[in-house]
Amino acid sequence: MKLLRRRDLVCQQAVELVTDYLEGNLSPRGRRRFEAHLSGCPHCTEYLAQMRETIRLAGRVEPEDLTPQARDEIVDLYRRWRSEQSGPSGQE
């Protein structure tokens, strides 16, 4: 069994660094340490791939469609605002 050096990451620490890694927030040294761990750990490599997939899936969530009624209500707001703008004298 490989002897664990003090500066080596363990899996439980690595999973806490995934977002810092993806956000580019690790120091160059921290990044090397994280990548060194990944290169020897298929489970954490899988974990990182899953976090990337999670982000991708969240990006596939579409907003619900606006109902025509809701849209009309907001467009009414716009018309009211326009008439406020024009003022009683009809000037902008």
Binding site: Q50, P63, L77
Partner: protein, 197 residues
Amino acid sequence: MHPDFELVSALRSGDERAFTVLVERYHEPMLALAVSFVPSRAVAEEVVQDTWLAALRGLGTFEGRSSLKTWLFRILVNRARSTGSKEQRSIPVADPEPSVDPSRFNGDGGWADPPEHWIEAAERRIVAGKLAGQVRVWIDDLPARQREVVLLRDVEGMSSEDVCTVLALTEGNQRVLLHRGRSRLRQLLENELREVR
């Protein structure tokens, strides 16, 4: 001219179509975010309506320092916060919350119960249109502050800088909330999709 300024000038000159485009793009995302801050969907709808009106009235103050989208969401969050909070907003971000259940690691911190494979299953289900609705429900169920960050970053695709502006968060707290939200979602996906052994 920057497209946002073009849009602003179209709005000011009474281009109703330009306004409709904006509403179709951002009304539902704003509603999804507003729900985080207020006690009910009905109140959230009022807050979003107020936001549209406040934005129109404040168009003259839009300086283009942030995008129109960020500016709009910032107005929304300010109004939603002042309308009334659903919960104490001051949950300390510093509270530890492990990304993975500690019981899945052995005493040395290595995986005892490693992540199960599910990416291919997720891809099949998302293509079949069966997963996005479920992911939306999971995001809606995240703790409010994580939810706000995940919605803006990962669903809306905003930059971390813009999310910090909209939610008045520090970069560090934004990252912690994002990490927790994404970690929870990953676990929910694993629970849902892992191959039956």
